[in-house]
């Protein structure tokens, strides 16, 4: 997700302690979601029904909490670009609330488990990596996982996200919820249905860039090891 820049940053002790705490809480939260998810698949097989109920509360809490990371990047305690962090967090929160939470039909379709697997595995790895990175104790295997798993998880995740968005469209087309219609004094309209379509279309230019960026990072970070 948020990728580190080159120069090691000098963090004050309170900032470092805070980040370790934040990442530990996230790691525990997402590990719990992972557990519930695996538990569901073990007992129910590949059935989608009931999966949302298993993970709903921790998912809403811990994924929403990611907005803190926008603040972290804005204040500079993490070295990520604010714009990129914002885009990444926004896409998650967008999927989570107006799509999955609001439109109950989206919890019963194939896209949901796809995105849940991608999100959960990615986040457990990512937050563990951040914790150990702050303590300068990242084992090579974890680094490899963090910069390799994305290769299949990214495409799986965005497939799930796009399918879920598509499933939510009929609801917003019919209810016109979150939309502003004419006539009004300010001659302003906002059509949430079309907004979802716009977000889906945005994946076309954005995904290759993010995916490509991860590959570059992988080459930079894992590639160096090979030269030893």
């Amino acid at each position: 997700m948020s990728t580190p820049k080159k120069a090691p940053r000098v963090l004050s002790l309170p900032a470092k302690a805070y980040l370790v705490l934040y990442n530990v809480i996230q790691f525990l939260g997402w590990s719990f979601i992972l557990y519930k998810m695996v538990d569901h698949f073990t007992n129910k097989g590949l059935k989608v029904t009931g999966l949302w109920e298993q993970v709903e509360i921790p998912l809403l809490i811990f994924q929403s909490a990611a907005v803190f990371e926008i603040v972290h990047s804005a204040t500079g305690i993490i070295p990520s670009n604010v714009g990129i962090t914002f885009a990444q967090v926004f896409s998650r929160v967008f999927l989570l609330w107006p799509i999955l939470y609001y439109v109950t039909e989206t919890r019963d379709q194939f896209g949901f488990p796809l995105l849940l697997v991608a999100w959960t595995v990615t986040e457990v790895l990512r937050y563990l990596y951040y914790i150990l990175n702050l303590l300068s104790a990242v084992p090579a295997i974890l680094q490899w996982c963090r910069y390799s798993f994305f290769i299949i998880l990214y495409p799986i995740g965005i497939t799930g996200e796009l399918i879920s968005c598509y499933c939510a469209l009929p609801y917003y087309s019919i209810t016109q919820e979150f939309s502003v219609l004419l006539p009004n004094k300010w001659n302003f309209t906002f059509n949430f249905y079309y907004y979802i379509v716009l977000v889906m279309l945005a994946y076309i230019p954005v995904f290759p860039q993010l995916y490509g960026h991860m590959f570059l990072q992988r080459k930079k970070i894992l590639g160096n090891k090979k030269q030893d």
Partner: protein, 301 residues
């Protein structure tokens, strides 16, 4: 003497040119074009360092201090397109898109829309919009003197998307059957203000044209002339942008339409960036540049 030409990406040797000290970089570009047919002169930029500043092509080899076996870096600016072509495409689009949506096509509004009444403001807004872009096209053809002949083709698609999509966005709302006009007094006052801004913007363009002798790339400090609308130069470096923003704010007030306001804001944001760059450039190039001038907003920015 021989000059080695190296690529800015990778430092690879592209060519070795035989030149005399009085050859201009422009002549060198012609030589390179003969060697590499895809690198027409407008696509070439010489630099003394791979990431250095682009060199003025009218300078001679000797003036740059180059000797035998010296090296110059060449950057490929990518496929280029003439500024004029860019502007005409960028401005014709919004003009026709708005005019088309003004007719309330069924594609946007459904079958019954065209026959429904339209408020006076919507008619006036369409005239203003068409006038504004016609003026821009005419200025591009007859008024502006461009310091650089071309720009990268990539920009064309990005810029056109911006202009065309925003034109459709604003037009859709102002011409909508359910559009609500603000009170007439507001619209008329805003229209008056808009007119002044259009005239002001043109006055500045005219002044800038006459500031630069034809065929030259010379830069001089712009100062107010007899035209009172140019007095804004006493307060800002880029009054053309000030008037442009003023015009769009007026259009927004006239139509009381948030989409128009968003368009005005987007333009404002971009013009602030350009104005600050120009302002800094003026201050750097002219030791006697008038202090007290701001970039785009009098007394403020």
């Amino acid at each position: 003497m021989e000059i080695g030409i190296l690529s800015t990406s990778g430092g690879k040797q592209l060519a070795t040119l035989t030149v005399d000290p009085n050859s201009t970089l422009k002549e060198l570009k012609t030589q390179i074009h003969r060697l590499k047919s895809h690198l027409y002169p407008d696509r070439q930029e010489f630099r003394q360092e791979p990431r250095g500043k682009g060199l003025d092509e009218s300078k001679t080899v000797a003036a740059l201090g180059l000797k035998d076996k010296s090296k110059l870096y060449l950057k490929d600016l990518g496929p280029q397109i003439a500024w004029k072509t860019v502007f005409l495409t960028e401005y014709a689009g919004p003009l026709f898109v708005y005019a088309w949506i003004y007719t309330r096509p069924w594609l946007f509004y459904g079958e019954d829309a065209a026959s429904q009444p339209m408020s006076q403001v919507s008619h006036i807004a369409a005239i203003c919009w068409v006038f504004h872009y016609s003026k821009r096209i005419l200025e591009t053809l007859f008024v502006h003197r461009f310091s650089h002949a071309t720009m990268p083709v990539r920009n064309l698609f990005r810029n056109c998307a911006y202009y065309w999509v925003f034109a459709a966005y604003v037009a859709y709302h102002v011409n909508h059957p359910l559009y609500t006009a603000p009170c007439q007094i507001q619209s008329y006052i805003a229209l008056g203000f808009w007119t002044v801004c259009e005239l002001g913007n043109f006055s500045i363009h005219w002044l800038l044209r006459n500031l630069r002798p034809p065929g030259s790339k010379e830069r001089r400090i712009p100062r107010p002339t007899k035209d009172p609308l140019t007095l804004l130069f006493n307060l800002v470096s880029c009054p053309n942008y000030t008037y442009e923003v003023g015009g769009w704010v007026a259009f927004t007030a006239m139509t009381q339409c948030i989409p128009a306001g968003l368009f005005a804001f987007a333009g404002f944001y971009q013009m602030v960036i350009w104005a600050i760059g120009k302002h800094r450039s003026y201050k750097k190039d002219f030791k006697d540049y008038p202090r007290g001038r701001k970039a785009i907003i009098p007394f403020v920015l």
